[in-house]
Symmetry: C2
Subunit: 295 residues, 2 copies
């Protein structure tokens, strides 16, 4: 079974080898074919077909204000503009637009959103407090020693998160956070901490959130999640029993669901035991993968 | 095959549920059994048996200067002290001491080192430049709005890295960075970027570093790597051919090695084709796993 979680399959060549050379970047920014992703703050500006929209670059753009997203098959450079936070922006307006994005567009948007957002929230040096500047074509920031800074380089964050199904006797455990829409249940999840492997984190988080001991953790799939910049790592594990003890700060309810129930929920059956997470979420991929396994 | 990469299997209960309540933390710091990990900057102070060493807490310790590492089976609280960077500290003196640490001690040390190091290098708010303070028992920092900050909370970084074997016709590709000890080769590796899945990153990094197209990426194992705070994600993938085009900024050499060569290298045979990475590195785990597969 080939898994293609949402936001994966970034279609551009990221052009890492071009990022360090300002002469290369100036040439790219002067390419008349160059394209600039149209964003309103962090939200996509939809084109007439509902997909992403792109505009030509200004003449003589300030290369330091651009992030190089990469090159398409015709070597056309694609950029996003780095800017200041937009006050009062509607949060997550993107959700209404995601249905209009193709899978490759969703992947480009995910990378661009995380990168632009990281710059907005990391304008100062965590090491010394000095103001920093973008470098490496938007893929790092420098605390410039020649301008009074400490010389530290900072790189965009990617926060790994485990998201997992605990399995017991042909059923999987699903939980409900208070902020979820009515009826929604999903896989349990949590950030991987320093000093942990993926497997360690699955075991710890399942115990913390549901009081359940699991073993035999297996990796299933991964996806970038641009809210703001997680790497979702989907796993399955065997629960030693089915007695749940909820952490009520994290989950308002949890329940065991069998294959028929998962399949009905994924199919949108109104009598299904829960409302499934949307297809772009890796929890949906994970549930689909599990439901397709031999029992 | 059960894989137990180095630094995994943290033996303490991290006690996440205790981190938010200052009264709990004061009580823990007042526990006469409480233990403080002995560090010299970021390096372990070895005990008489060569393992980690622990001391009682001071009387009336400043709880804000402590990080709660967790609880052992007897519910004894274990702490590390958060401090300032130590100028002139010998870098990576830990390597000479790692052989004296048991696997659970190595895991505790990995978590403690990454956490203490993160605090040292993140004393200021990346969002506004204001000085920040530890919170959540050392598991976050607060940019205190009541002290003129912006109110942002900051969490320790964990940077996911892919490390991978490209396989072709019964051989795997190993590379050599200029900084490696003489004779050492290892798996290719690189940071996962925003907008990438694990699989996307394996494909991109193998192409960037070796000019090799790979497919069918499979996850093998993971480990925390505390230099300073990576999550190493080990994978294997199929190379479409064996023609290498090196990125000479990253690698000074790369070569294909068959199973017999990998086994000889792991065994320390002086005639082996390369010197293997040390057992605590997940590259060693990955090579051992691959060498044990049916060809």
């Amino acid at each position: 079974m080939i898994l293609a979680p949402g936001f994966t399959g970034y279609p551009l060549d990221r052009g890492d080898e071009m990022r360090d050379d300002m002469r290369n970047l100036d040439a790219l920014a002067g390419d008349p074919r160059a394209k600039l992703l149209q964003l309103n703050g962090l939200e996509p500006v939809p084109g007439p077909d509902g997909g992403l929209s792109w505009a030509p670059l200004d003449e003589s753009p300030d290369i330091a204000s651009l992030a190089l997203l990469g090159f398409d098959a015709g070597r056309v450079p694609h950029f996003a503009r780095l800017g200041d936070p937009v006050p009062g922006q509607p949060a997550y307006a993107v959700w209404a637009l995601l249905g209009g994005l193709s899978a490759p567009e969703a992947a480009i948007y995910a990378g661009a959103r995380s990168l632009v957002d990281w710059h907005m929230r990391h304008r100062f040096c965590a090491n010394c407090g000095h103001v920093t500047q973008p470098m490496r074509a938007g893929w790092a920031r420098l605390c410039d020693a020649s301008a009074g800074g400490c010389g530290a380089e900072h790189f965009p964050r990617t926060d790994p998160v485990v998201i997992m199904l605990a399995e017991h006797d042909g059923r999987v455990l699903l939980g409900r956070q208070p902020r979820f829409p009515a009826g929604r249940y999903s896989a349990l999840a949590g950030f991987i901490e320093v000093g942990e492997s993926i497997e360690d984190a699955v075991i710890r988080e399942t115990y913390e959130e549901a009081g359940l001991r699991v073993r035999r953790v297996r990796y299933v799939a991964s996806q970038p999640w641009p809210f703001p910049s997680s790497l979702m790592i989907a796993c399955i594990a065997e629960a030693e029993d089915d007695a749940i003890r909820l952490d009520e700060k994290e989950l308002e309810h949890a329940k065991w669901v069998d294959r028929a129930g998962v399949l009905a929920s994924l199919a949108g059956d109104p009598d299904a035991p829960f409302i499934a997470p949307p297809p772009i979420a890796i929890a949906h991929t994970l549930l689909s993968w599990w439901a397709a396994q031999d029992s």
